[in-house]
């Protein structure tokens, strides 16, 4: 990579600028269109929007690491020692998102029991589901 031809170098930079800019615009357009901000009444289902936006973001990340950070030109060992540990995050995402769902479920169970036991809670603002959100207890494993 030493003494790269300056025209080629500028080309890489220009390509990166356009690519990252266009992907960002596409992502924002999908978010706006999908949530009905561009055409009234038109929305996209989340199962289409989310994978597309996540995929485009991962591509941006790949491009930044491989082109801008020159990971492409490093040897295999360096690449693997940096990228393989990131795979641990896959399990972290699965485990913690699952855990989050579990917290929600637990809170619902507690709330239902309270409502069965004490009728008057229904009439009080404290029984409002949104109010219960304020404590996301850590000891509900």
């Amino acid at each position: 990579m030493e003494h790269t031809d300056i025209n080629h170098a500028k080309q890489v930079v220009f390509k990166g600028l356009i690519l990252l800019g266009v992907i960002t615009i596409v992502e924002v357009l999908i978010a706006l269109f999908g949530n009905g901000h561009l055409i009234a009444g038109m929305t996209l289902p989340k199962w289409i929007m989310y994978p597309v936006m996540i995929g485009l973001s991962l591509y941006k990340a790949y491009f930044i690491v491989y082109e801008f950070m020159h990971m492409k030109y490093e040897i295999q060992g360096l690449r693997m020692s940096v990228l393989l540990p990131m795979l641990l995050l896959v399990w972290a995402v699965i485990a913690f998102f699952n855990e989050g769902n579990h917290w929600k479920h637990n809170r619902q169970v507690v709330q239902d029991r309270n409502q069965i036991g004490i009728e008057q809670i229904n009439a009080m603002p404290a029984a409002d589901p949104a109010h219960g959100q304020e404590d996301h207890s850590d000891h509900e494993h």
Partner: protein
């Protein structure tokens, strides 16, 4: 793997030694350690973003980003995600100018390095300025803090009983309706400084008051974007130091040339990389 080749290389060229050892991964000590620092930093950011996801999943409702982040400077509202898109472009542009600075470093063009690093610093400062405006809007204008989140979300369809100032609708006025999943902002009364939680009537006839949104939303927002902003801020400081060093001719005299520019470049691209995921998690999904 190709230890023979490396060894012969070592024998020929003492400059490639790390104090007597072979150079692992054919990368200099500084660059390799920068990579491993970035790995550890990636885990820190991932911890924050995964916490965001877990807490979001644990709440019955979550504020819609295209409602929360819809202001523009100049008093413009209802422009969902436009301002954060501009912030993203600013950061991408500064990443691109950083690539140019590294390229000029390879060409040992001192003035080019200084110029493009200067542009990168301007980009970083512009991003920080945007973030300062965003925080100011949320804190001073919309009263969101680490412990208070006035962005709530309806869980049912219904109709408001109070107008925006918290007073019951007068006879003959058309009351505002809302749908489940719609996010609202609880305002503060300018005179009394008290929250105006509008009363509403749900579809099933129950009367209730606007509830506050999940607290974690505000706390996570300020910690995640604050931690990222702190990275940008320290990045700008390091860029400044290295730009001054480059301008002074320090790196022209060094054996490894402009490697410091490459190292701060790695860090700067990483900051952009993290923003890709902050942008995805906080603003898009």
């Amino acid at each position: 793997m190709d230890s023979v080749a490396v060894q012969s290389n070592v024998a020929e060229n003492d400059q490639n030694l790390w104090e007597g050892a072979k150079e692992p991964f054919k990368a200099s000590y500084g660059k390799l350690m920068m990579w491993y620092f970035l790995v550890s930093d990636a885990f820190t950011f991932a911890g924050f973003l995964i916490a965001y996801g877990a807490l979001k999943f644990s709440m019955p409702t979550w504020p819609l980003p295209d409602f929360v982040f819809s202001s523009l400077p100049g008093g413009i509202h209802h422009a969902p995600l436009i301002f954060v898109t501009i912030m993203t472009f600013v950061l991408i542009a500064s990443s691109v100018t950083m690539v140019r600075a590294v390229q000029e470093g390879h060409r040992e063009n001192k003035n080019g390095v200084v110029f493009w690093m200067g542009m990168t610093i301007l980009g970083g400062l512009a991003f920080l300025g945007c973030q300062a405006w965003e925080w100011t809007t949320l804190i001073a204008g919309e009263n969101m803090t680490v412990t208070t989140n006035p962005f709530g979300t309806h869980v049912v369809d219904g109709v408001y009983l109070d107008d925006e100032h918290g007073h019951p609708y007068e006879a003959g006025a058309t009351p505002e309706t809302f749908h489940a999943g719609q996010t609202y902002l609880i305002h503060k009364d300018h005179d009394t400084d008290e929250w105006i939680q509008r009363r509403y009537k749900a579809e099933n006839g129950a009367v209730a008051q606007q509830a506050f949104g999940p607290k974690a939303f505000g706390a996570l927002f300020f910690f995640i974007t604050g931690f990222h902003g702190f990275h940008v801020f320290s990045g700008v400081l390091f860029l400044l130091i290295i730009m001054i060093n480059a301008a002074s001719g320090l790196y022209a005299a060094r054996k490894n040339g402009y490697e410091m520019v490459e190292k701060i470049g790695l860090y700067w691209h990483f900051v952009d990389l993290v923003w890709v995921f902050v942008f995805l998690a906080y603003y898009l999904l």
